[in-house]
Symmetry: C2
Subunit: 670 residues, 2 copies
Amino acid sequence: MSWLKILGAVIVGALLLTVGILLGHFAIPKGGNGPRAPSWVQTVGRDLNESLLQSFMDQVDSGKIRENLKALASQPHMATTKGDEELVKLLLRRWQDPQVGLDSASEDVYGAFLSFPDPQRPNSVAVGVCGSQIFSTRRSEKNVTADQTHADVVQPYAAYAPPGNPRGRLVYANQGKRSDYLELVNMGINLNGTIAITRYGVAGRADKAVNGAEFGVAGVVVYTDPADINDGRASEEETYPNSWYLPPSGVERGSYSRYFGDLLTPYYPAKGNMPGQGRALTHDGIPPIPTQPIGFEDAQTLIWWQQGSVSLLAPPDRYVLYGNHRDSWVHGAIDPSSGTAVMLEITRVLGKMLKEGKWRPRRSIIFGSWGAEEFGLIGSTEYTEEFYSKLRERSVAYINVDISVFGERPSVLSSVSVYDNWRNHFNRISPSYGVIPNLGSLGAGSDYASFIHYLGITSKDIAYTYDRNKTSARIYPAYHTAFDTFDYADRFIDPGFTSHQAVARTVGNVLLRLADSLILPLNVSDYGEKLDELYSAAAQGDFLANLNANNLSLDPLKAAIGRFKSVAADFNQRITKLKEESPSPLQIRMVNDQIMLLERAFLNTQAFPNQYYYSHVIWASKSSDQATFPGLADAYTSALETGDWDQVQKHLTIVVHAVESAASTLEAVA
Amino acid sequence: MSWLKILGAVIVGALLLTVGILLGHFAIPKGGNGPRAPSWVQTVGRDLNESLLQSFMDQVDSGKIRENLKALASQPHMATTKGDEELVKLLLRRWQDPQVGLDSASEDVYGAFLSFPDPQRPNSVAVGVCGSQIFSTRRSEKNVTADQTHADVVQPYAAYAPPGNPRGRLVYANQGKRSDYLELVNMGINLNGTIAITRYGVAGRADKAVNGAEFGVAGVVVYTDPADINDGRASEEETYPNSWYLPPSGVERGSYSRYFGDLLTPYYPAKGNMPGQGRALTHDGIPPIPTQPIGFEDAQTLIWWQQGSVSLLAPPDRYVLYGNHRDSWVHGAIDPSSGTAVMLEITRVLGKMLKEGKWRPRRSIIFGSWGAEEFGLIGSTEYTEEFYSKLRERSVAYINVDISVFGERPSVLSSVSVYDNWRNHFNRISPSYGVIPNLGSLGAGSDYASFIHYLGITSKDIAYTYDRNKTSARIYPAYHTAFDTFDYADRFIDPGFTSHQAVARTVGNVLLRLADSLILPLNVSDYGEKLDELYSAAAQGDFLANLNANNLSLDPLKAAIGRFKSVAADFNQRITKLKEESPSPLQIRMVNDQIMLLERAFLNTQAFPNQYYYSHVIWASKSSDQATFPGLADAYTSALETGDWDQVQKHLTIVVHAVESAASTLEAVA
């Protein structure tokens, strides 16, 4: 007989933020104007300066990025810790620098609910036989580069899981999916009162416990399987500090919440003036039972025995946002400091150009250093909640660079362009452009989530990742462990920091184009291709047959998409024509507003009433395998079981209305 | 023993609309510009032309309005009827007129669910004794001016009530409020299977039946009480055609639905491409039991025994909307033709100025002639649903003029100004301006509902009403009856049509100022006074004591309102300064966008999850008597009973967040 013991504690913490601003320009008179032309005439019509862009690209320095990262990852900086506070100061110092700083930078504090372990009662998983403990898991990771012994290394724990001390028989439950537990039950195994050991992957962190609790499981252990992360390598010799692979003692920390944002104040900023604070936590998105992550060394033995802060830079009244979180689970060299190192280099170059009087952006650029991302995207979500109306009214786009580089150093450094490299490894066939780089879908994996899903702001997330043909690692192996250090980054991820430099140049390029282009560099017709793709997945095979059998037709959707594509093509033609006609500032603003608000037109607050924040009809999350519009896909899959075709019809209506609204937004104004 | 018999039938109809457009101007080059100034420089900075406004005012002709009304009310024009279709043609003819027409006008059709009686089985209420019928109510109103005999006069019925033939004992249930039924039950009266006779007023039409059904009532009769409408006068001699009072046989028709918009396609336009159409009606907002309206003559005997279409005129990309419904229950001279007569006079004068090349609005003006208002604001709601994104992105304001004049002709015609007259009869003391005309709150009584509540567009409704010190009539007596005719209007409401002319001038003035003013003529500081008023109602007496007793503080709300007022004052100062500095078109646009979007910042789609369309934190409906923010008021009243103070806290948070968002919208952009 074996038993398990799990301890945990939850302590509330306050979340710290800083905000900095890079103002867009309005009217900087340059030289003498004629007597009849007001002073703003010459500047307001100015487009992106290509030579200035080239100058920016030339100045991005990989050595500086390496220095940034070294400073950023020099100590653990989990949200609300001393390390985190020091990073806030570092960022403020840089952004307020008289030579290379920005227009302004300030600090902002949210009092969010974060979950921490009790240092006095460290968590562990233990095995006992006949009442005597015969094995207990490590309480911290093994010291391999001295970084792991820092006093502020948080012990491995499952944030937001409840404390407790359950005992029970250990059962291996694969990935903790509902189907995994169900399979065990179908095999005749009684899960009541058991401790389930599961591996990271597929099911979300919280889901493993939520699913298990449904079947009576009393506690959940989660480990990182070498097959999922290390291409099977599991020995000390094969792992860090000898390679980029995760050492046997490494434990992936993480937020065990299904939702993002502060759990106590969803949709509202966690500030003193929001009366929602200080109330009890009652939430269905966190583990109902004690849960603990462990390393694969400990997992093998067991199986054998069978919170943060946000910093920002902000207008005139159109915003280009760029952000990354700052908090990490431990030193966080890759996650997130590789992104912050890149951001700091970009702000250094832009700040320098600004201070030297060479440049000022047309639109305002807001840089955000978000806090408590690891606890559920909390800093960025609070920010979007606090400035909901303003951001929704004025934001042109949001760029997110979290982990900027997480591929292992390529064995051969190539001279191929970022564009070609991207296209070679991840591409799609566009009906308009042929083979082009592909884009994935934005879920809720980083701070872009509330920007795209809640506010409907066009968003982008970018990283230099690895060739999945060469490794089957689920993610870079040291992810969320005490081995994610500067040394790890410097030796295995990006020696020379040229990948970081490439990311900084690529992202900086996108940023400057969004900020300075006279006409926003977003091609509305591209949305037509996505709509076609989603439509095609529904308009075939069983999907179509089942719709038709229930008197549901896709014709209105087809017609709406057709209208959108036609309106988008006309819109692009008008832009081309407008550019030839020396357009007035108001004409430019009108067209840019249409581009900016296109994404907003796809929002529907009635579409997903039970899913916090999700309201984007194209990009919302779905659980169905059907590759069509998410609400439609889920309703269809559900109707196959329940016969509720009214919900399918409802989501068809929602999609048609959203596509029609998007088309309306782009139609000729006059 | 007495019994009652009620018949009804529901038939679905299609709704017709027309749309016309008056384009805002962009850049009409006037004369020669200097070599350095682009052609748009001189026109884009032009403010409202005051002499042109005066010219408009002078041209508004009361005789033309009288002619309009005569044509509009010449025959019954309930939604979808031949009379209604003919009005669409009339409007198109006027708006497409080469001399006084608008830029364009077109027709738009929605297939909404409307409810009509079955002409083959007319409704009535009958009394029987011992199985023999001894009395039956009239099936139509008495012919007093020949208008009542028109073949298209719809028989009196309760739209959306179900058909049926209930029999039961007749019980007088006052206004059909829940408390009225409860009082009967407390008196020991068993309401099961009874027929309740109720009078119009206080409880909404549908509520009388919904409330009754809860207590077992099998059918509801609703009558117009002379005390509520006729200052007690009930004889033929004292009523129309001898006075403005309602004749004994007059029956108020109406929509017996609690909600507005098409019941089958809430939030979506009732168009062929919206798959929601053609589904079964399952709705909790309509009478669950047969219901029938009757006149007071019939009611006395009983007691003694114990809808469409929409027309519009639209950009460039900022819209001022002006609308009224077109459909009536019968001839609808007052409701709604008095408003349409005014609108037609305004469009004639503006159309003439336009065609003569004297004027073009800065912003686009959209005129809407909505259909099926009587069935639940259906035309206007469908329009806001179909163009949800576009209207929300671009609308500056919505002006509604439904019934334009519904006071009885004053015995002495005075020369006092509209402003002074308004201030004399309906005023408030403003901390900033002293005694000024007061504004009521916009509920959901006319087509402004979805503009203000669902889209958050600043809205206004205006009418010339009567002195409530001189009559206690609940509304003008012929309301919704076959006596609401041109003759009635011409003889009793506004002989000479000078009141109509005053409304046309007042509204036209507001319309031109909204369309042409360089800076939108909306003072954002006025919202501060409203916020103070709502706050004060909560920050006193029992309300405050009960909040405090439950650990809830109003301090954050007070602080948020303080911030709003301060930001609004700064905003006004910036506008004053901007005007002195020959601002650029972009600076003007930025400020105007802030004014336009202020109203939007008060929307919260999570605030009233169970109330269709309502999302405006200041103006949503409430059932509580507490004079504070509606969500807060209802949550407070409910908490007194249930102890659910978490809901109160939730609504406090919602209000604080809305006020903070509004302040953010007005803050200096740079």
